[in-house]
Symmetry: C2
DNA sequence: CTGAAAGCGCTTACAG
DNA sequence: CTGAAAGCGCTTACAG
């Protein structure tokens, strides 16, 4: 309490506080109660260093006591920028999306920012216009781009043009480090390859994803390279392009399992397709894992529900969302490097050594 | 064009328009261009009937031409209410959440409203305070309450206290019709009961959900009542309380399948638990569906991934989200009745007549 | 049916 | 380190 503050009857102040607490206080209430200008309260809110420690503490105490929270719309209007982070995705994997939302929200908690979701159809040719309208109208503070839209350079060009910050999540770095979360899918595929090789598999089938997906190229490329390094070449007929869907997994497995020399193991580049491999194997009456080892990618809820439970590569999706949001919250000037994200193989019951029958 | 408008050189106006188009026009730009006051533009935006048809059309044409979109933060500040709809949930089923978000967003499309998500932990005792902070700080226009938080009357009391609109989604109506989407889970369970009875099953096991869940009581109650109506009484040992989790499905099925007189069919009140039944059955070497018929509830993605594919009750989740959002957008005065939501059984390969072995 | 003034709750730009 | 004035882009309340 400085002596210079104008003294008011204690009863008046108490009444003021009561009023402020009951019905959403404003910056003016705090200013009056603290005996400072609203600009000073504003400085405290925005963590400006240009406030005396004593003043700051008094104002902060009052803010806490009254339970004052600045109105994001008023702040947003003055800043010309909202306190909203957008999440833009066309990924059909629900668990992936929910985990990513959860991770992002963990970062935003307590920051005054909220998450607004924007699923879209990247195959429609006006989806970029849709995203543009979304980010411009809402004056988003930033957007998180989830694969596969994160790989679309036309989308990113638009965001740069309208001047909206973004954090891109993709299998490898495609942009400045401060705007990227690289998920290093390749490492996970390498681990899968080494695991199957170490179990003794030599005739291995691979069901890839659509080659226009970066993740499919990285996972597939990593797997093939890692096997090659250990002296195993995958003949072309053992590599089948799938569509990241259950049905394409069934179809791919049926082709692989009809080969004269049947593979003893199949790596599917996502769990959906791996589930399709189970179906094809069951239809043929193969016993798992004795007659066929299977590895998936995603470690989706499916993995533990299938029987036998599926060995799969896990991506730390929650953390990816968390880091992406944190990147958007950090000040523009402090270029925050993307964190190191590393997938790892979760071993369950779907693999064994070949010829154990 | 009225004669009273002040005439300006065409070149000036063209320049004005160009400026307005390039960098986010404001209500003032439109007013100047249209030769009216900004209040009139405001009336057009807000669909006030107090505007001459001619004036309205001129202003609307200009708005379209310039691509003007009102700033939601400025509108929100003046209205003391944001253009944000919240979605509050503690449901662990990712597909459920993503579908509901999708349905809600379909309603919001083009309305200027956006969806902000708020997962929470209804077991933590301060989650209501968290939701309160969320809705009050953001001045949400309304919130969609998803089961099971939708069943929490303490949460609803808080929302009424702070005066935030909500739409509750629950198995049966718990509130005024204009605030409820009743999903009639009971009907789906009845259909499952009738289906199993019609196949000839007489010794049937039931794995329920936690009894504190309304959905579990409705589904279980409907199933038991429908069977009773057809002359089948479920002995107590054939009814097991599960926890809506995969593991509890495994455990429940193990108990049921260890009964001296094994059930020929099991109804699990969600697909997670049904997947657990598969696992227990596989472990015992039972062939499906010959030795055991299984029905689930949710029609989750799991249903088609399991082998044999699972017959399950489908709830139109997308539509539930769509109607909930539409309910929140419709004017407060026009009490919009909740729509009739009806679940239905999706028959796949997991059931057969008993004793077909 | 239309508009000028004041205000929503904040911040920026400028002074001191 | 602090504050008074003006402004962000809308709407409400009041006149006419």
């Amino acid at each position: 309490m400085t002596a210079r503050r104008i003294e008011r009857p204690a009863a008046d102040i108490a009444q003021d506080k009561a009023n402020a607490k009951s019905g959403g206080a404003t910056i003016n209430d705090i200013a009056r109660l603290a005996g400072v200008s609203k600009k000073t309260v504003s400085r405290v809110i925005n963590r400006s260093p240009l406030v005396q420690v004593q003043t700051r503490e008094r104002v902060e105490a009052l803010i806490r006591e009254v339970g004052y929270v600045p109105d994001p719309m008023a702040r947003g209007l003055a800043f010309r920028k909202s306190f909203l982070i957008g999440m833009v995705y066309d990924n059909p994997n629900a668990q992936y999306i929910v985990n990513m939302q959860g991770g992002a929200l963990e970062s935003l908690r307590g920051s005054g920012f909220e998450l607004v979701v924007h699923p879209c159809d990247s195959k429609s040719d006006d989806y970029i216009a849709g995203v543009r309208h979304f980010v411009v109208q809402q004056r988003l503070h930033g957007v998180i781009l989830v694969p596969r839209v994160s790989e679309d350079s036309a989308l990113v060009d638009m965001l740069n043009e309208v001047g909206v910050r973004y954090a891109r999540i993709a299998a490898v770095s495609l942009d400045q480090p401060r705007r990227m979360i690289a998920t290093n899918d390749r490492l996970g595929a390498i681990e899968a390859a080494n695991y199957l090789e170490s179990l003794g598999h030599r005739r291995i089938g691979l069901i890839t994803g659509p080659q226009r997906y970066l993740s499919a190229r990285e996972r597939g490329g990593g797997f093939i390279a890692a096997l090659a390094k250990r002296g195993i070449e995958l003949a072309p007929e053992y590599v089948i392009e799938g569509g990241y869907t259950f049905e394409s997994g069934v179809a791919g497995a049926e082709r692989l399992l009809a080969l004269p020399e049947r593979p003893t193991a199949i790596f599917a580049l996502n769990d959906e397709m791996a589930a399709g491999v189970y179906k094809a194997a069951h239809r043929l009456g193969l016993s798992l894992p004795e007659q066929l080892s299977i590895v998936g990618f995603d470690d989706s809820p499916l993995a533990t529900r299938l029987w036998p439970s599926l060995t799969s590569v896990r991506l730390p999706i929650w953390d990816m969302g968390l880091h992406a949001a944190a990147m958007l919250l950090s000040p523009e000037e402090s270029p925050r490097e993307g964190p190191l994200i590393a997938p790892h193989l979760v071993v369950r019951e779907s693999c064994s050594s070949p010829g154990r029958v």
